[in-house]
């Protein structure tokens, strides 16, 4: 170790430089990923894959080299202030995750995931689960192995070790009670909502075509109203919408359907919620440190769902948006009045597909996946038995059974790409969004009137102070407790659903 790193304070300073560099490399990866999804010509796929993997290897080498371990051992949190000490803990956490898994297991799993994802694309199209089964078995085998070595290194259960990789601090023991609560509550609510909806008669649905350019202009206008800064970001088109990019360069995407503007519009507002979080993270000197990062997938999803589900599907917001929609497309008529738009944007149904689900049924789709992936990691469920238990779970939770595996256990990419332990964050994010929105609107009486006139300054200011500006300083649950006075629960979400869907 050099003189520079021979004392604890010096070691921490060098660590800051190393993690800053890792963060910058990560941003480069963000731009490459965006480019690949939005811009890149098809023939560049192989060269791009090599660029991305070279950056990954460089980052991995920087993280796992002997110098990093020495520096982390030499740094002493007791000598540091609050934020640097918390930053050091996050460095150690990232280091532990990356060094826990042997390089050959990382490589084997990465290869198995690529092969399985490719097989899944064909299998899903044909609804042929048997075709992808051997690939998925291999992915599960290697993911269980990874979970076990991570569990040993991190002192967690294997499933928690996977959860923690996507969502630091998330644990099955936090999830179990809230999911049990929802699984008890939602099916009955769903019956009531569907009965009420059916009594209200048929919907008046906007009829296109809605030119893509007009949709994009409307999306940009509403993004601006919500507070997106186009000097530090973009809106573009990709097959799978996402929020990505880099520091001060946050790029969201959507896809347009000329026959229906409504889905893309709400999708844009959803991604804008993610983007505002990224744009509102702590500034220098923390921006490119672990503590300056967004705090895991649950908090991230809470920001997109707060914007989409809590704020923008509200009657208040649609009151503001309806005239802008009519103006954007030069249309008039009952389908473009607040009543019709609100009914459209709060339509509930027992569907087969998670990504098309409404906010009442969505958690049921997630709970099914959570149960199954826990059983898979625990070794209690054979991969070959997935289709049967999937359909059984759908019957129990949603009251419908998919007619084929394309609409069943083949619908999502996650498991086939090795992402086990990710699904719960969607619903935890929805719960957190409801809890945050309730607290925010209670604490600041300007927020709701602002939304009704397209002024999101009060809402975004509250989010910035209470969520965005904290980066990764607190765990998700601490963050929520500080902002709302309580840890994650179901009360606010349930109250929200009852109010919006039953008027009670």
């Amino acid at each position: 170790m050099s003189a520079e790193t021979s004392n604890s304070g010096g070691a921490y300073k060098v660590l800051e430089q190393r993690f800053h560099r890792l963060s910058v490399l990560d941003q480069v990866g963000g731009i490459l990923h965006w480019d690949q999804a939005v811009i890149m010509p098809d023939g560049a796929a192989a060269a791009r894959a090599e660029q991305v993997s070279t950056l990954s290897v460089l980052s991995h080498e920087l993280m796992t080299g002997p110098e990093m371990a020495d520096l982390l051992a030499a740094a002493d949190e007791a000598a540091l202030e609050d934020w640097p000490a918390a930053n050091l803990a996050l460095m150690r956490r990232q280091h532990a995750h990356q060094t826990a898994v042997p390089a050959d297991l990382v490589a084997a799993r990465s290869k198995a995931c690529s092969a399985c994802e490719m097989a899944w694309r064909a299998a899903r199209k044909d609804g042929d689960f048997a075709a992808v089964l051997p690939y998925l078995r291999e992915v599960v085998r290697l993911t269980r192995e990874m979970a076990q070595v991570k569990a040993a290194a991190l002192g967690l259960s294997p499933y928690d070790a996977l959860l923690d990789g996507y969502d630091p601090g998330n644990r099955a023991e936090l999830i179990d009670p809230v999911f049990a609560d929802l699984a008890g509550f939602l099916p009955g609510l769903l019956d009531d909502v569907l009965a009420r909806q059916s009594a209200a008669g048929p919907l008046t649905v906007p009829q296109g075509p809605f030119p893509i350019d007009s949709q994009a202009a409307l999306g940009r206008r509403l993004m601006q109203a919500v507070g997106f800064d186009f000097n530090r970001g973009r809106l573009d088109v990709s097959i799978h919408p996402f929020c990505g990019g880099a520091t001060d360069d946050v790029r969201i995407t959507t896809r347009y359907d000329e026959a229906d503007f409504t889905q893309s519009l709400m999708g844009v507002l959803h991604e804008t919620g993610h983007a505002l979080y990224e744009l509102g993270r702590p500034g220098d000197p923390w921006r490119n440190q672990p503590i300056g990062e967004a705090r895991g997938m649950t908090v991230h999803e809470s920001q997109s769902l707060l914007m989409e589900m809590q704020a923008c599907r509200s009657r208040d917001f649609l009151h503001y948006a309806a005239p802008l929609i009519r103006e954007a497309f030069g249309v008039e008529g009952p389908a473009y009045e607040v009543d019709a738009l609100q009914r459209l944007y709060t339509r509930v149904s027992r569907g087969f597909i998670r990504v098309d689900a409404d906010e009442v049924t969505y958690p049921l789709h997630v709970i099914l996946r959570y149960r199954l992936e826990r059983a898979i990691i625990a070794g209690d469920l054979e991969v070959a038995d997935l289709p049967g238990v999937w359909n059984e779970g759908m019957r129990e939770l949603l009251g419908v059974v998919p007619p084929n595996d394309r609409l069943g256990c083949l619908q999502d990419i996650h498991w086939y790409d090795g992402a086990i332990g990710y699904f719960p964050t969607y619903t935890l994010g929805a719960l957190m969004a409801a809890q945050l929105f309730a607290a925010a609107t209670e604490q600041d009486s300007d927020i709701l009137p602002g939304i009704a006139r397209g002024d999101f300054v009060p809402l975004v200011a509250w989010l910035r102070v209470n969520i965005h500006a904290h980066g990764s300083r607190y765990s998700a649950d601490e963050l929520l407790t500080r902002a709302t006075g309580a840890p994650l629960g179901t009360a606010a979400f349930k109250a929200h659903l009852q109010r919006r869907y039953l008027g009670s």
Copy 2:
């Protein structure tokens, strides 16, 4: 040194991996640069600068670390086949260039160039040379220092050491005789051409507006005819047109003027010439090795000028393009007939501005700059005296004197950004283009008839075999000699100008 690198063959194999990685990082830089020029929001400038410099530092560390020097010392070209041995020599050359200059000089010069470029932007706008003078003095001082340390390390004269950085193997002793020849020939030719042009009467110039979308569609159509592969590349818009991107992902840009389609159209064909070179470089296993790279700026410029000046400004090509132009804009009339378009595309004038110059006067602009930058590096010319000697040189070579420094010595970014030793390649490229095109059309009688019907397959096939596929295997002069039977000369270029502009 590890066992893996302890013998020469092993050392070379490891070097291949190292240089492959450097090449991939360079590609990432190419995508970031394209993104910055085409797509990036303004507010991301600082973060992007840090991404780019982080990649540079990583590459520099990989190149200049002690392991690289050990490997290069251990590798033995005598034990290698032809291409690997040549590849090793190129590795050593790159390493010598990068290690010759001390890190603090690199940093000081980079900082001085940034400051000077910024000062130049304001000074050019105001035509105020005095405002940029202290900055330019510093850039020149540090560039002379760099030239001297490189000269010592590479065994070259200081100016040759700068030339060699842009154009491997290029030397003042190769340039001097051809530039002397042109400086003697061109002024007289220019008188004759202008007299002939003036006797032919006024031009009929196309009158816009020409919608940008139609210009872009026409550009794409002609790029496709020339042989650009849109599966491995793109055409976009940027303020300063360039050819960039990455392996299998070659991206050219242009800028459109609604009032005038003609400049952008020829600009697109120019960049397409660069792009075809990049797309035609050697495939695996050489593509991402030094030997797989394009062979310096002279050869690169020869490919763009061959396409633009030799092929596409020819009467043959305009015969093919004229109906497509009329169709693209839905226009008719004498301005869109072959005669008028050809006169427009071969118009010659005594102008002040290099980038607007025609192919007769362009070399005179370059010769002026070559003389001055040599004198600056030799210490024979004070930077403060630039405006005066510039104007004197313009009077001597072109017969006109710029009314202010904005149209004089402030017009080009190159020196203000530290690029000294670059200018000659423009004219060497023009000479090489003429010599290659003469040889190609003589060797394959299908080339000219192909161009006349928009079929560039014979021409591009000849270029691929004779230029592109050789990568950096040969020096520019060897490459030219193998393809045309002679080293670089002025005969083909002079014959081309006399034929095209005097009909003789």
